[in-house]
């Protein structure tokens, strides 16, 4: 008699132990946006454990910065979180200005606010559109990336580049924004809310999207704080920490905006927090345009770092010497150390700069938010399905350039 016929009402339990399979969510994978590897231990479809490996795009920014003079470091900071390069650039300039104690005119600060909010919108567009793509909704991606082209056009008018902008100088901006820039900003601010509404109608109350993303990769506020989360990921978990409000920089205290906060810290909350932040950014840009002071120029008076106008260089000895020093990278900064942080699109982007009085930094460390919150990824996906792991990763907005630096 076979085992089946003997106990035909009982379930046959296999005598061997449970075996887990190892899945390599490798560095090259269509759904991981960026190159990082995860080795998953799986029980069927459920993830038991994950072991991340990063460093596949380590470009040694910190060592590179020790070789370059202060105004040549801006292109490196571009490539940290390359979806929102202007925020990194302005953050670096603010750090150096703190160390040289420069007084920045209000007008320049307001212009910087507009620039940073535009790039924040650009970054959140990428993240939200990509969450849509990972759940299978490709239409939202195509709609929103068209808006990103408009932001690229604005950046191009300001500085000539679309993505890695290298915008601004220590002390302000390299040139006054032309009338076309202001027109394009106005047009964008008027048209974007409607485009965002079209995107919202596709996903926000969509039953499939909600079922996919609610309770997917949650993290509690205490664990998030313990890991060092900042930015939209922390706000989705319920903690309203925003560097723009805690330690205001570049006149953010003059603007009124609300900080959207989630409850559970899952993918839906992260998606919604970013969506709301885009709307708040539009409101900040509108306020900045309205309150923009008419005088103040477009740069501060920092002769050591800001190139003098060409007429003075040809006629004035002092200006010629400054021009020479700046172009050859011989301007120095007094000895000191400073930690400055800005609210990047992913969280608190910090710059720890140690200067020994020379022409290049002695030590420059970037406090990169992606690096710090990606540590929590194994904890967030444990017990979930593989497709939820993919969605969690894309909703955290992990940018490989910022992860590895």
């Amino acid at each position: 008699m076979s085992q089946l016929e003997k106990n035909n009402t009982d379930i046959i339990i296999p005598s061997q132990e449970k075996e887990y399979s190892i899945l390599n969510l490798g560095p090259t994978h269509p759904a991981t946006h960026g190159i990082f590897q995860n080795i998953l231990k799986m029980d069927g479809e459920i993830i038991m454990d994950a072991q991340p490996t990063i460093g596949y795009i380590h470009r040694a920014f910190e060592k590179l910065a020790e070789r370059r003079p202060y105004n040549q470091i801006t292109p490196i900071t571009d490539r940290l979180n390359y979806c929102s390069s202007p925020i990194n650039n302005v953050g670096w300039h603010l750090t150096v200005e703190k160390l040289i104690d420069a007084q920045i005119p209000k007008r320049v600060e307001y212009m910087r606010v507009i620039l940073m909010e535009l790039s924040r919108i650009a970054d959140h567009i990428v993240c939200d559109a990509v969450i849509g793509v990972d759940t299978g909704a490709l239409t939202g991606f195509v709609y929103l990336f068209q808006q990103r082209e408009h932001i690229y056009e604005i950046f191009e008018e300001m500085c000539g580049a679309r993505l890695t902008t290298n915008i601004g100088r220590i002390g302000g901006f390299e040139r006054e924004w032309s009338n076309k820039v202001w027109e394009k900003i106005e047009k964008f601010v008027n048209n974007f809310p409607k485009a965002l509404e079209e995107f919202e109608n596709l996903l926000v109350r969509n039953r499939i999207f909600m079922d996919r993303t609610i309770n997917c990769g949650p993290i509690s506020a205490e664990r998030a704080l313990n890991y060092g989360f900042t930015g939209p990921n922390l706000r989705a978990a319920g903690v309203d920490y925003d560097v723009r409000v805690m330690t205001p920089y570049s006149s953010y205290q003059d603007f009124e905006f609300t900080i959207p906060v989630g409850t559970q810290g899952d993918t839906y909350d992260r998606f919604m927090v970013r969506l709301e932040e885009m709307k708040q950014s539009i409101s900040i840009i509108k306020q900045a345009i309205q309150k923009m002071p008419s005088d103040g120029g477009f740069h501060a008076d920092v002769p050591d770092f800001y190139l003098p106008p060409k007429e003075e260089v040809y006629n004035n000895m002092e200006a010629l010497i400054y021009h020479f020093k700046i172009v050859m990278g011989e301007s120095t900064i007094p000895k000191g150390e400073v930690y400055n942080c800005v609210e990047g699109a992913n969280g608190e982007l910090g710059y720890y700069l140690v200067s020994d009085g020379g022409r290049t930094p002695y030590r420059l460390h970037f406090r990169r938010p992606c690096f710090i919150f990606y540590q929590a990824y194994p904890e967030m996906i444990k017990g979930g399905l593989l497709s939820d792991a993919i969605l969690t990763m894309s909703s955290m907005n992990v940018i490989a350039g910022e992860l590895d630096a």
């Binding site: 990063i54 020790e66 070789r67 664990r223 313990n226 150390e337 910090g350 720890y352 540590q375």
Partner: protein
């Protein structure tokens, strides 16, 4: 207001750890305290759990190499108190021959990768770390690249002429 908070935190630290505080200064508004290496875990635990100081967030953990000093390696911690919006910087210095520091992973889980990165770049070993391996560079790399004696460029490349680039 920052000065008051800085003074208060320094007072609280001196009350408990007076022998271990080597120097304290306020640079650009931030209190920067150099402490002795052996007590760093106890000091950070005190700063985290004491209700007067209450530093509940680890902002950053990094290393530094100062070859001119006798104590040429350092670890720098940045802590943040969300309740009073107060930041503090702690530094410990030690020499390369004795590059072992206590790990603070069980106080702040976020210190895990930050300590791995510091180990990768400077060769500072963290006692008690669950998995102290290289994180950004390749596993089999022998040198610790951010130390000042190592060059930036890959010396075996032939297509870039150093003389033309002023190196």
């Amino acid at each position: 207001m920052e000065n008051e908070l800085n003074k208060k935190v320094l007072e609280e630290l001196i009350k408990v750890f007076s022998d271990d505080i080597k120097s304290a200064e306020e640079s650009y508004g931030m209190l920067s305290v150099t402490v002795s290496k052996n007590k760093i875990y106890a000091i950070i635990k005190f700063l985290k759990e004491n209700s007067e100081t209450n530093f509940n967030f680890l902002t950053d953990l990094t290393g530094i190499h100062l070859p001119e000093n006798k104590e040429d390696l350092g670890v720098i911690y940045h802590l943040h108190n969300f309740y009073k919006n107060h930041r503090i910087r702690l530094k410990v210095f030690f020499s390369t021959k004795d590059s072992y520091v206590d790990s603070i992973v069980d106080l702040y889980s976020g210190a895990n990768w930050m300590e791995r990165e510091t180990f990768d770049f400077f060769g500072i070993h963290f006692k008690g770390h669950p998995n102290l391996t290289r994180i950004l560079n390749m596993e089999d790399m022998l040198i610790h690249p951010l130390r000042k004696e190592f060059p930036l460029e890959d010396q075996s490349r032939k297509d870039k002429n150093d003389a033309m680039f002023g190196r």
